[in-house]
Symmetry: C2
Subunit: 307 residues, 2 copies
Amino acid sequence: MSLLVVGSVAFDSVKTPYGKVDRVLAGAATYFSLAASFFTDVRVVAVVGEDFTGKEEKVFLDRGIDISGIAREKGKSFFWAGEYGENVNEAKTLDTQLGVFADFNPQIPEKLKTTEYIFLANIDPTLQVNVRKQINGAKFVGGDTMNYWINGSRQQLGEMMRVVDALLINDTEAKMLAQEFSLVRAAQKILTMGPKALVIKHGEYGATVFFQDGAFGMGRHPFRAPTLPIEKVTDPTGAGDCFAGGFMGYIASQGQLTREVFKRAMFYGGVMGSFAVEDFGTARLQKLTRPEIEDRYKIFCELTHIE
Amino acid sequence: MSLLVVGSVAFDSVKTPYGKVDRVLAGAATYFSLAASFFTDVRVVAVVGEDFTGKEEKVFLDRGIDISGIAREKGKSFFWAGEYGENVNEAKTLDTQLGVFADFNPQIPEKLKTTEYIFLANIDPTLQVNVRKQINGAKFVGGDTMNYWINGSRQQLGEMMRVVDALLINDTEAKMLAQEFSLVRAAQKILTMGPKALVIKHGEYGATVFFQDGAFGMGRHPFRAPTLPIEKVTDPTGAGDCFAGGFMGYIASQGQLTREVFKRAMFYGGVMGSFAVEDFGTARLQKLTRPEIEDRYKIFCELTHIE
């Protein structure tokens, strides 16, 4: 089944203890779609400026991604410059230039409106809701958000949470959104706000999914997927988006949503995140193969498997 | 097989958002031995003061724990008073009184010197090394330490690490000990310091064990055990010691140390830690039964199990 992502296609300049890159292809929708493309057909809805050239197009097209929903505008694409220190969990933003993204008002092309799986990457929740309304027949919708919207657009975010099936956020965002220190209580509170499933990402410790009672015919027990302990995080940018891409991509590829599918999707999410950080920008994802993904999936399963 | 622990038997006054208790039985060796007693025969070597009465003795004896190695001295037992806020990962120490523990110089009684499994709970590393030397025939020795010794007694700690088979510490301690931000690099560095296995506890995210190449005939791959997401942490004190008790107790109960035994020991460690935090002090451990442990063990296995 096909999967559509709405979000940012951008350029990043990133410095980490392992080196630096200047204006490389990035953005949540880019990372997401590349990761998801190993599992299913992917369509991207985004806006870019004149700096988005054939070179960048090729990265998507080489992975068979449909970019007919990427609008081209006069001006520059979204740009972010940041730096990570030894602690890869903390990015220092050096520069942000919205460019053509400032007026982003995503319109879903007619031929993409039948897409069954949707991911609303981290953009203004008002826009996320607008997109959701344009695709009535969607079977399963995932969404992301960030501190900026949690603090500043709580009402709009509340509406967004009522139109997604699964919300994917990290520990800090979950605690902030629920205003709770306990992760479990935070999860319970967020599930009352709308989403049937809440995936909380724990960075290098993996991720946990919590379910509304009876959602997707699943038991109430949460499920945890580990991540591989990684020695060298070359560039952590996009790891969360790649988690979402692996997660949603695997779900879309399976057609039916059982507890087992959900569990495996959590593992594939972790696998894709673990590849993303091995090189700068999208470099590792561009070289990646499905057999490599399956090999690492097996290692992830073995990592916590007990007889 | 029998298991001997050397460490503190103490009294704690603890305040958390869920209530408070005054001068209840506590200390690393207490938590450890109660947790381990569900798996194997346990002996405690410690020192207590005159405030340690028949009431406290009974807690150990009810669990069949051998307390012939607990020395009685004139004065008061080790006392700690602390408070936890909503963030259970941070304890605020209000008072510490070493009492008779200040002159603790553990002597292993002759009849306990044949013990095959040893745990050196968190005390001065010089004392840990002295204990290790008194028990030559030990098959497997585990050890714990803390920031205080990592910062102040690095040389003695270095010696301690060369006489233990497994070191059990948390993320912060591992990073501090190795002076590394990356957990994997920290683990690799610590393994060169002596221990054949390094168990790093991640609090609510579980624990990971790293092995020296070829140690215990095990593969190089690390292993991760989850913990149950817990809604209400009534009192986090002793969770790490109960993890160690479950871990060492299960290993001692199996006699041989295969990779599967090590993996199950990691799960049982998490299980015992998860029970410890459900009530103040040792209250939950005193009421606990083996069937409850097995039930939760199954939930832990299911939590990350994938077909």
